[in-house]
């Protein structure tokens, strides 16, 4: 299926001209991969990758759904899941922030066998409902991850809660530019407040992934690849079997 490799203007050219769109991935002979070019995702390709992604999700019971727009041909992927937040309280006066860890629901119910791993004396858990939506941005020509989160009593999480909840290994990047990374925005279809992971850098990190897959002649599902990179930043993980999702009908 066409990856929709567009041919953008090279960044350094003073007077760029429109060049014709390149051929599809898989048509190896037609493609001369210019390392300067970015891989943009066209809307039809987005919808196709979502369909393939969805099939796999259904096979493994991963809970993703497609919501079609009533008034137009577009739509989005969506999934809801629950996470339990365990709050560790050890010594009085100790900071609780260090002890807070997010577990997917199944893990929260397991008792750790090695007590020295989890320094808890008393544990409280709060369940948070996460709703993730994958939409297509025609402006940036990339998928965008929208999400919202609320406690069991319906109270929504605030932006600061979300920032605090971002995994350790992404905190440095977040602190560099929190307002460039995760902010609250209006969902373009529902019109309601959601949090969004900014799409600005998507093309930057997706291009090498796609170019590499071309080189080794393996088709990659753009959505699975993209989500496996951005999802973990906001608590969404993909089972490894998604790596095998084909990007064209076999």
């Amino acid at each position: 299926m066409p990856l929709g490799l567009a041919s953008p203007r090279p960044r350094s050219a003073p007077s760029p001209s429109l060049r014709p769109r390149l051929a599809a991935v898989g048509e190896q002979s037609a493609l001369s991969v210019n390392m300067e070019e970015d891989a943009f995702l066209e809307e039809k390709a987005f919808q196709h990758y979502c369909a393939e992604f969805l099939k796999h999700s259904q096979q493994i019971g991963d809970g993703w759904e497609w919501k079609a727009s009533k008034d137009s041909s577009d739509g989005y992927l969506c999934k809801t899941h629950f996470q339990a937040k365990a709050t560790a309280r050890s010594l009085p006066g100790a900071s609780t922030e260090e002890g807070e860890t997010w577990f997917p629901m199944e893990e929260a119910l397991e008792v750790p066998s090695d007590d020295s791993e989890v320094p808890m004396t008393a544990a409280a858990t709060e369940v948070v409902r996460y709703e993730y939506h994958v939409l297509y941005s025609c402006s940036h020509q990339v998928p965008v991850l929208y999400f919202r989160a609320s406690f069991a009593d319906g109270r929504p999480l605030a932006l600061q809660d979300i920032w605090d909840g971002v995994h350790e290994c992404y905190q440095a990047r977040l602190r560099q530019g929190p307002w460039d990374t995760i902010t609250q925005q209006e969902h373009p279809v529902l019109g309601q407040p959601f949090f969004v992971l900014h799409p600005c850098k998507t093309t930057e990190f997706m291009t090498p992934v796609l170019k590499n897959s071309q080189k080794i002649n393996r088709n990659v599902n753009y959505i699975a690849a993209w989500l496996s990179v951005v999802g973990p930043v906001v608590g969404l993980t993909l089972p490894l079997s998604y790596a095998k999702v084909p990007s064209q009908d076999e």
Partner: protein
């Protein structure tokens, strides 16, 4: 052309006379007088209402005050929409001044984005500017600018400095000599009757045959119900900055002259007023 430059100034300096009244259920220590203000059409509510906030907080106790929010005739006002857009879409057929109710309690979480600081407004504004340039120039122009240029756009808007703003913004309005316009036009079409908050699609300002596309062409393509019936009486007004541009106006010209500071054309479709 001097005429066209005047349009830029007229758009920038557009104002809406507004009367802010405190919501009747807010708890006050003494009566709160309404507050009158001329709101800049091209700015954002939370950016220009510090005086409104101070005025009402003077008669309230600290513990009764949380995040401010605004409402018009029962509809919470989205601070992240430009003021002129909100007015045209919701209140243009009513008599002036625009009557807005001010709230300090019960923030409508499901309807409104929080506005925790001026940084949030700046982030939102810059995100729109970047999105517009992604459409116009594949982000080439905005990415080539330095951080201080981005800051200048924001400061120009925040401080109502037309020249400061346009010194940078003019670069976002340029296009290569061999083209006849931008790659795609940044626009959003709003109607209160739809569930979807706005329509935004890819649309080229120049057709395959080299003809400049018009406002009418855009509407026929992305919002055909607005134009129907073609020869009958139009049921709707198509409004930008409080005026109804002729449908024959080239979209490229509209984009260069009637965009908001975020570089988007925010177009309201409203029912014809009955008078």
């Amino acid at each position: 052309m001097t005429d066209d430059k005047d349009v830029l100034r007229d758009v920038w300096f557009g104002r809406i006379p507004t009367c802010f009244t405190l919501y009747q259920d807010e708890i006050t220590e003494r009566e709160a007088e309404p507050y009158y203000l001329l709101l800049p059409r091209v700015s954002y509510l939370t950016l220009v209402t510090d005086k409104v906030k101070k005025h009402f907080q003077k008669v309230m106790r600290q513990e009764d005050i949380s995040e401010i929010w605004f409402e018009y005739e029962g509809t919470p006002l989205k601070w992240h929409y430009p003021i002129g857009l909100l007015f045209d879409l919701l209140a243009s057929s009513s008599a002036l001044p625009w009557n807005i109710i001010v709230h300090f309690k019960s923030f409508p979480e499901k309807d409104l984005l929080h506005c925790p600081s001026k940084d949030a407004i700046e982030a939102h504004f810059m995100s729109c500017v970047k999105e517009a340039d992604a459409l116009k120039h594949k982000s080439q122009v905005i990415n080539e600018m330095q951080k201080k240029d981005h800051k200048q756009l924001w400061m120009g808007l925040q401080n109502d400095r037309f020249d400061q703003f346009w010194a940078i913004n003019r670069k976002l309005m340029e296009y290569p000599a061999e083209e006849n316009g931008f790659r795609y036009i940044p626009f959003r079409i709003y109607q209160t009757t739809t569930e979807r908050p706005f329509i935004q699609k890819l649309f080229r300002p120049v057709a395959a045959d080299g003809q400049l596309q018009t406002l009418g062409d855009l509407l026929r393509e992305v919002c055909p119900s607005v134009m129907a019936p073609e020869d009958g009486e139009r049921k709707n007004q198509v409004m930008i900055h409080g005026i109804e541009p002729m449908l024959e106006t080239p979209l490229q010209w509209l984009s260069e002259h009637l965009s908001y500071p975020d570089n988007f054309l925010h177009i309201s479709i409203i029912p014809q007023p009955t008078d």
